[in-house]
Symmetry: C2
């Protein structure tokens, strides 16, 4: 063409903190999304897709300030001088949507969401600036049955995930129990008290990592870590610290036992009575849904990080213990959670619109699945039909199509290299077998199917391959019309 090529040549590089995803990870993501969608749909949830962008003021606490408009979110100034920001979760956009369309919605309003969320943060190992979340929310009811349904949904989604479906637990708590406890202890309902409460919540959230001893410091005067950095504590008395730790230990195997223990610890408080009443209903609904004490536990040490929760909260944990490729133990931990947030829509409406929901980190869960799948070394490439004679392309296309029509993934080699390079290509594609029709086969009306998995095994045990070669040869030639039978046999 006549156009001059520019001398400027950009370097091909992915933006830092972002991923290119493919293969097992992406397949796992898609199967998770499909599994969750089926569950949500069966429960009458309607999918809702809000835009990637919201007006920054609608996102609430991540309001960009003029000095650092990108703090926490990816923000951009629109032509009309309004700030837009990419959503950092699906909950804030839902609050905006509900407030904007309140009168037209059938309430309680059940919706599901799936899509990327963005965090403009320093990336770290396994921490990305874009990842996929799946959400389900019910807006417009204080009914604890709605919270119970969320927990049931979370359990159903986990139960639909291959490889981990037997090895998960939903841990449940209620924020009001902690409120009751702190009120008992004497933390005041002032701004100073709220700050103190925040420190307590964050301390409890670290139980897993620091153990009771470390949390004890954080509940008291403070804690110096290995590097010498000091974190100021909540300043509770030793007696109060004991009460808090005692509270976090109240999670017992049977849900009913935990309720009794909590009743004894907190029963006099009004907050606690409301929370315990709701948890009792939730317990009954979980039981009638077949969620036993192994799959759904009450655990007061679960607090969830976000500030906006106002009632029941829960977390989905993978309990599977496995080793990575190097034999080191892998603990997967939490892949999602949620809870009741009655105040979020009120930011727009001025009146309280109660809501409950949960969120799953799809990317997180997909990474777990992909790592488990990799350990099983799945061979899931397509059958490759070699293209040995350029003018026979129609025949190759026809064979590949025949395979697809029989439900077998297949592709024709579309490069222009010779047989050896084509075999190498098939290997790289993880093809279980290749279909070969060269001049000889064509003249004889034949087709050759070469099993690459078997072929690889044979070359591994080259000294001891007699029974392989005789019993199930890696390569078979037969009549062209037997293509499907041959390929099927080689796939077994």
């Amino acid at each position: 063409m006549s156009k001059k090529t520019k001398t400027f040549r950009p370097k091909a590089r992915r933006v830092k903190g972002f991923e290119d995803r493919s293969g097992a990870i992406l397949r796992a993501e898609q199967s998770l999304i499909n599994a969750a969608s089926i569950v949500f749909d069966a429960h009458g949830f309607e999918p809702l897709a809000t835009p990637s962008f919201e007006y920054a003021d609608a996102l609430g606490k991540f309001l960009p300030d003029e000095e650092r408009p990108n703090a926490g979110v990816f923000a951009i100034e629109d032509d009309d001088k309004q700030w837009l920001a990419l959503r950092y979760d699906h909950t804030a956009p839902l609050a905006r949507f509900v407030a904007q369309n309140y009168d037209g919605l059938a309430k309680p309003f059940r919706r599901s969401a799936v899509g990327s969320v963005w965090r403009n943060e320093k990336p770290g190992p396994g921490r990305f600036r874009e990842f996929i979340q799946i959400d389900a929310d019910t807006v417009g009811t204080k009914n604890p049955a709605a919270d119970a349904e969320m927990i049931i949904l979370a359990a159903k989604v986990m139960g639909a995930v291959p490889l981990v479906c037997e090895d998960f637990v939903i841990n449940i708590n209620d924020r009001r129990l902690l409120d009751a406890l702190l009120s008992d202890i004497g933390v005041p309902e002032t701004e100073a008290g709220a700050l103190q409460k925040g420190i307590v919540v964050r301390a409890i959230d670290k139980l897993d990592r620091l153990g009771e001893r470390g949390v004890e410091f954080l509940l008291g005067d403070g804690r110096k870590d290995e590097s010498g950095d000091f974190t100021k504590g909540a300043g509770l008395t030793p007696a109060a610290i004991g009460q808090v730790l005692n509270f976090t230990r109240a999670g017992i195997k049977q849900r009913s036992d935990t309720l009794t223990a909590l009743q004894n610890l907190l029963g006099v408080s009004e907050y606690a009575a409301a929370a315990l009443g709701d948890l009792k209903l939730i317990d009954a609904l979980l039981s009638s849904a077949g969620l036993n004490d192994q799959k759904a536990r009450f655990d007061p040490s679960i607090v969830r990080g976000l500030g906006y929760y106002t009632g029941p909260v829960f977390e989905a944990d993978i309990t599977l213990n496995t080793n990575d490729a190097k034999g080191r133990p892998v603990r997967f931990g939490s892949v999602g959670g949620g809870g009741r947030y009655d105040g979020l829509v009120a930011r727009f409406k001025g009146v309280e619109v109660p809501a409950t929901g949960f969120s799953f980190g799809v990317s997180r869960l997909a990474a777990v699945l992909a790592s488990l799948e990799n350990q099983q070394q799945a061979t899931n490439g397509p059958i490759v039909v070699l293209a040995l004679e350029p003018e026979q392309m129609s025949n190759y296309f026809a064979m590949a199509e025949e395979l697809r029509n029989a439900g077998i993934r297949a592709e024709v080699y579309l490069g222009t290299s010779g047989m050896k390079a084509q075999m190498k290509y098939a290997d790289k594609r993880n093809a279980p077998a290749v279909v070969i029709v060269g001049e000889d086969e064509r003249n004889a009306g034949n087709v050759t199917v070469k099993n690459l998995v078997l072929g690889a095994k044979m070359s591994e045990k080259i000294t001891d391959n007699t029974q392989w070669r005789e019993g199930r040869p890696a390569q078979v030639t037969d009549k062209r019309e037997n293509l499907i039978t041959l390929v099927r046999a080689s796939l077994q």
Copy 2:
């Protein structure tokens, strides 16, 4: 809680130029994505998900300038002063990915992609700043069989779309034919010639809208539109204009006839010979894939807007003629297309990496489907189980679960309103029926199923409903254990 509510109250409003999608649109989107994914997977394409952001310099022609960093794209300056931009298609990120990972890829590299793309443009009716595209691409081969496979994929995806699967056509051309024609006419291979060629391409692209007469002006001195605005033309001679229009008319019903016509028009040129040879192979492969002349046509009037195409190009058109809700005829037109772009990866690599691919506007196609579906007035809400006695919630949950296990979408009403409001809710949810267990039913071990569709019909023809009422009553009460049978009967 102790936290003070802020007095600042943001207005709940969607960002201009963006959509909230739900209901029929979103279901149509998902079914399209699923259908396409199945087709791509069967052909051995591997899904690849690149990040939403690319470095702006990698996006090529949309490089933000310092004055208007957001021109065309949503761009943002990262902490390290590099400009990022949200992808405006899936092709530019693919080129970056291939250049970055070239040596490790099995080539030809087949990949599929699905996801949002963003355009920072003035929004208009039906034109949004974010929409979903599905792509398939084969990188690393000049083999026209790869172009043929793209066309076959496009046809398979269209064929998998309900409602339009019989009413589409893929229109195919080759950019080199136009190059040959313009070379014949005497358009030089200079920068001035490239500009002139650009005007010709844009003129041909307007055939649909302006007709031959309007395009004739644009190929000549220029055209004044209704508003009086003047568009400068390509400045071709009347004879040359005749040749161009003659060329665009060469699309004849049979692909082989079009090839003969083009051979006669352009046969002497080297460009044309290469293009016609490739189209001949493509014709043979389409035929062997069962794509007849009605489903895939050669049409020289198809040029495709993008500048980077270098060989075969094609467009998928919906040919279905239908009327909208107000009885006005609706023409759907093009929903996707693609072609060969051998120069795109070269921007990074310096060496040419041939590639071919196509892109479908999912949002566009979903809008078509949703509008067709709306005309059919589908009722696809869930069965609503009314919650009439709060302490019976476990029973309602159990009934809903029983329905789901029988493959029936169901939900429990989770608000706290009475029976009348619950019936209204069910109506708003498009529920085909409600399940009622009040105190009477419960004491008798019964369940009532009320058919809302039938109920609505009955109230419409209130004067003539005898046969409805007697033949299939809108409401049936029977034993609780017959729940599934009752609901199934009411769904028929």
